[in-house]
């Protein structure tokens, strides 16, 4: 197990270096620089501009900037935001819980509905139910997030007046940010009704962000189940006189989950990308909204630091998924031990 973990971590080194190059290069490819954006329409004199750029360390050749950046990163220093003058790491971790909360809720929503839907579709293969589930999931998968979010806001917030339009919590409540996760913080505080209010705010963003993962998980579960249900060991399980429910949920699902878990791991990247749109639509104060804002401001340090931290998050989740495999599928663990 330990060896498996070390092997996986070694593989992350080249990925990490690649990510720093991309994060560093990406924002510099865009036209404009932070000083121009800061100065706005009033403009700034050429001498002053050179001075500010020198202060920010942006006057040196690009390769030198990159080496300085890499050196800083390896020392755990992601720089200071040009816009707010606060350390990037501090800003990131202040906003991260909001995105994490939304992403976790979205993935739970997607799994709770997607996996059973996929199982039912596989069991009723070829029937109207199967076609219905697959049809709906295809629509869900194809629906642009911003459009879907606006449609839901129009229906549930404007017309039916059931859900709030934006934000994480009503202004009527005053909750101390202990963990940054609103659902936990509201439970800890003694403001009555604040938990339900936070939950209320979460519903629409969760549905919007979870729609694509839900569709992918449902389709993946269906195809994995179809494959597994025709395996010999499923016939054996039935020959033992087990109930259909037990055959499906214990013997078949455990094997089908191996591929489904991979997909769920890959979904994390899609969730963080989707969070950028979802957070913008719902005014959700998270990483997605922050990174968009930083890109518009050409805040080099915030963008390159933020992208790196997002990439690290995704790598960590994928590592956890790899480890989870071992528990779901004993064959992988034994293979790794042998090598």
């Amino acid at each position: 197990m330990l060896r498996f973990l070390i092997n996986r971590l070694m593989l992350l080194v080249p990925v990490f270096i690649g990510v720093t190059v991309v994060a560093f290069g990406f924002i510099r490819v865009l036209p404009g620089d932070p000083v121009e954006v800061l100065a706005g329409e009033r403009g700034v004199s050429a001498e002053k501009r050179v001075e500010i750029l020198a202060n920010l360390g942006l006057d040196k050749p690009v390769w030198q900037q990159y080496l300085t950046y890499l050196n800083d990163v390896l020392h755990g220093n992601l720089g200071v935001s040009v816009k707010t003058n606060r350390p990037v790491v501090e800003e990131f971790f202040e906003l991260f819980p909001a995105t994490a909360e939304l992403a976790i809720c979205a993935i739970i929503f997607a799994v709770i509905i997607g996996v059973p839907a996929g199982i039912i579709a596989a069991l009723k293969r070829g029937s109207k139910i199967d076609q219905g589930i697959m049809g709906i999931s295809l629509i869900g998968y194809s629906m642009p997030i911003f459009w879907w979010g606006l449609l839901l806001i129009i229906l549930f917030s404007n017309t039916l007046n059931l859900t709030p339009v934006s934000g994480r919590l009503s202004f009527l409540f005053d909750v101390d940010p202990v963990t940054g996760f609103m659902l936990i913080d509201t439970l800890l505080s003694d403001e009555k009704g604040s938990f339900l209010n936070a939950l209320h705010h979460l519903i629409l963003p969760t549905v919007v962000l979870g729609t694509i993962p839900l569709a992918v998980i449902a389709r993946q579960t269906r195809s994995a189940m179809l494959e597994v249900l025709s395996e010999d060991y499923v016939r054996t399980a039935r020959a033992k006189g087990l109930s259909t429910f037990r055959v499906v949920t214990i013997h078949a699902l455990r094997n089908a989950m191996i591929t489904v878990v991979t997909v769920i791991g890959l979904m994390v990247a899609i969730l963080l990308a989707g969070a950028i749109l979802t957070e913008t639509i719902f005014g959700w104060p998270g990483i997605g909204k922050w990174i968009i804002f930083s890109i518009f401001a050409r805040d080099y340090y915030a963008v390159q630091g933020g992208l790196l931290l997002i990439a690290i998050t995704i790598m960590t989740v994928n590592l956890i998924v790899d480890l989870l495999y071992g528990f779901i599928n004993p064959r992988i663990l034994h293979q790794k031990n042998k090598s």
Binding site: E231, R235, T236, A239, K240, G241, H251, P330, R331, H334
Partner: protein
């Protein structure tokens, strides 16, 4: 009264090109503690007939029979829930591919104790000792440590032993072994067969052995049913069949045994079992039968004394034979 009585069992599969009759009117009966062999080439419906008995066929299969009685209970009129109380407990079945027939995600111990919990209730842990005892019975060394092994850590022969342990766990009255040795090494084949026979005798259970190996039939079974293209062509005691096969197909199967080869070449039966599209008119075996007459090509034969043939070999009528020298009974 026989333990298992099946009359006129027919299984049809709905396919895109029409219905395919995989099993066509099979009758068989098995007494308590008896060994019955079912033989025939691939595609002759051996496995499908037994899967139909177990209720394990996919939903595209349509099973019908005049009667299907097990231990006095009518399997046909049962719903799935009632049938599940019998299969795995009183009737159980082991399959051809031991490596893929065990679930790769669960330990050997889990899979054995699961079947005991299912039929007798209680916690899985309470059956650990029983599982160890079963693994001992099927000849697995160091059974205590094997309980925590996964199927991929065992060899094919070991997996088949585990499978047998799992299926005799509830002391079934009838065990169906569907080509239990086909996927195994030759040396292991003999061991597994010996084990099955030993268990059959010590437990006094009936055994249905599906095989295409006539040598296995000779060594083990008391009665034999010969299937061809889903039809039962001959049913007799093994001794009689080996002494004087009455259906040309049975005879051809016996001739295909390596011991009976007269020259370097084995006596293979030309052609293959007909499928859905190439069913011949008349007797289904006629294109491959060396005795076929005009009658055989025109009219399907009727079952007489358990033999499905216009001209059974036991009633010799040399004038109607094309080549009487082919008759090997004289050997």
């Amino acid at each position: 009264m026989a333990l298992l009585e099946i009359a006129n069992l027919t299984v049809e599969f709905a396919t895109a090109t029409g219905s395919l009759r995989a099993v066509d009117g099979i009758n068989l009966s098995v007494d308590e503690g008896e060994i019955l062999a079912i033989v025939g080439e691939s595609g002759s419906g051996k496995s499908v007939a037994m899967l139909a008995l177990m209720g394990l066929l996919p939903w595209t299969a349509k099973v019908s029979a005049d009667s299907m009685l097990f231990d006095g209970q009518d399997l046909l009129s049962m719903d799935d829930r009632q049938r599940r109380k019998i299969i795995g407990k009183d009737i159980s079945m082991i399959f051809q591919e031991p490596m893929t027939s065990l679930n790769p995600c669960f330990t050997v111990g889990y899979q054995i104790t699961e079947v005991l919990c299912q039929h007798f209730g209680g916690s899985r842990r309470s059956y650990n000792n029983r599982a160890i005892e079963l693994l001992h019975q099927v000849g697995i060394p160091a059974a205590e440590t094997r309980l925590n092994a996964y199927p991929h850590q065992l060899s094919g022969g070991m997996c088949q032993r585990v499978m047998i342990a799992m299926m005799i766990a509830c002391q079934p009255k009838l065990l169906i072994a569907d080509e239990p040795t086909t996927a195994l090494d030759v040396t292991i084949q003999a061991q597994i067969l010996e084990l099955l026979i030993e268990l059959q005798q010590s437990h006094g259970m009936a055994l249905i052995l599906i095989t295409h190996d006539m040598a296995v039939v000779a060594e083990t079974a008391e009665h034999v049913v010969v299937l061809y293209a889903g039809q039962q062509v001959e049913q007799r005691s093994v001794k009689e069949l080996f002494k004087s096969p009455q259906h040309p197909y049975s005879e051809a199967l016996l001739n295909a045994l390596p011991e009976r080869a007269q020259e370097k070449l084995l006596n293979a039966i030309p052609g293959v079992v007909p499928g859905q599209m190439d069913r011949p008119k008349g007797c289904l075996f006629n294109p491959r039968c060396s005795y076929a007459q005009e009658m055989c090509r025109q009219q399907p034969p009727e079952l007489r004394d358990g033999i499905l043939c216009h001209y059974p070999l036991a009633m010799p009528n040399p004038s109607m034979r094309k080549d009487p020298d082919l008759d090997v009974r004289t050997q």
